[in-house]
Amino acid sequence: MERQPKSTNESPERIDTTELQDGADVYFNLGNPNLKSIEAARQAVADATGNLKLKEVIPQPQEYSRGYGRSLMDLRAKELGGAVDRTPQNIRSWNDFEVTR
């Protein structure tokens, strides 16, 4: 099974521990306003996952922005009714972007 990082955006009761195995990545989202501290998040995850030995991932600041960007692309794609075609010819250059008002 592909390892999926479990974000601490999810409250512990929402974390599906059946998918987790030893060595799984736990993504600590320091940008989550509900996250009080790393220690609190660590404890919450431990409470939810028991004795699993998880690998903590504390992302660099730019990873948050990339994550938000990715989530926005997903929202946009859903709104447009399908996956966004990201083949090079369909990726607009920023110079091509025209803001009209």
């Binding site: 600041p61 730019q62 922005s65 989530s71 926005l72 447009l80 920023w94 009209t100 008002r101």
Partner: protein, 147 residues
């Protein structure tokens, strides 16, 4: 061409200043929105994340794609009365956020500027998810439209 496009958009979606940013499912137009319209709605929110826009300025801030964010500002120079504009592209790389200015000027942002950028992208995501896409930004669940 831009003016024609503007007129067409205005005819289709109305006056942009009157467009509601929340789009409850039952109030959506029958036709699908375009990516450009979504970007415009997103940018309406993005432009207001940094406080009040100075009089006579027009600001855009939006997520162009997964790794590219655009800041664009236009204003009239008070001395020369000529239109001015500045566009900044932020590229999210594995090793940092590269700020690219016109004229081939670029640098990785650091410190408070990096913190502010990350905060801006977070606020943008949270507000756009709620107000444009009508979903909870952290659960992905559809928000129930307020009556």
């Amino acid at each position: 061409m831009a003016k024609l496009f503007k007129k067409v958009v205005n005819l289709l979606v109305g006056d942009p200043s009157q467009v509601k940013l929340t789009m409850p499912q039952n109030q959506r137009p029958a036709r699908k929105v375009t990516e450009r319209e979504l970007l415009r709605l997103e940018s309406e929110i993005g432009s207001k994340l940094f406080g009040e826009i100075p009089a006579g300025h027009r600001r855009e801030f939006f997520c162009l794609d997964e790794t590219t964010w655009i800041w664009h500002e236009e204003w009239t120079d008070p001395q020369t009365k000529k239109p001015r504009s500045e566009t900044t592209r932020y590229e999210v790389h594995d090793n940092g956020v590269l700020k690219v200015l016109e004229g081939a000027r670029y640098a990785y942002i650091q410190g408070a500027e990096l913190d502010n950028f990350v905060l801006a992208t977070r606020l943008y995501y949270e507000q756009v998810a709620r107000r444009v896409y009508n979903v909870d930004p952290y659960t992905g669940q559809k928000l129930v439209a307020a009556s």
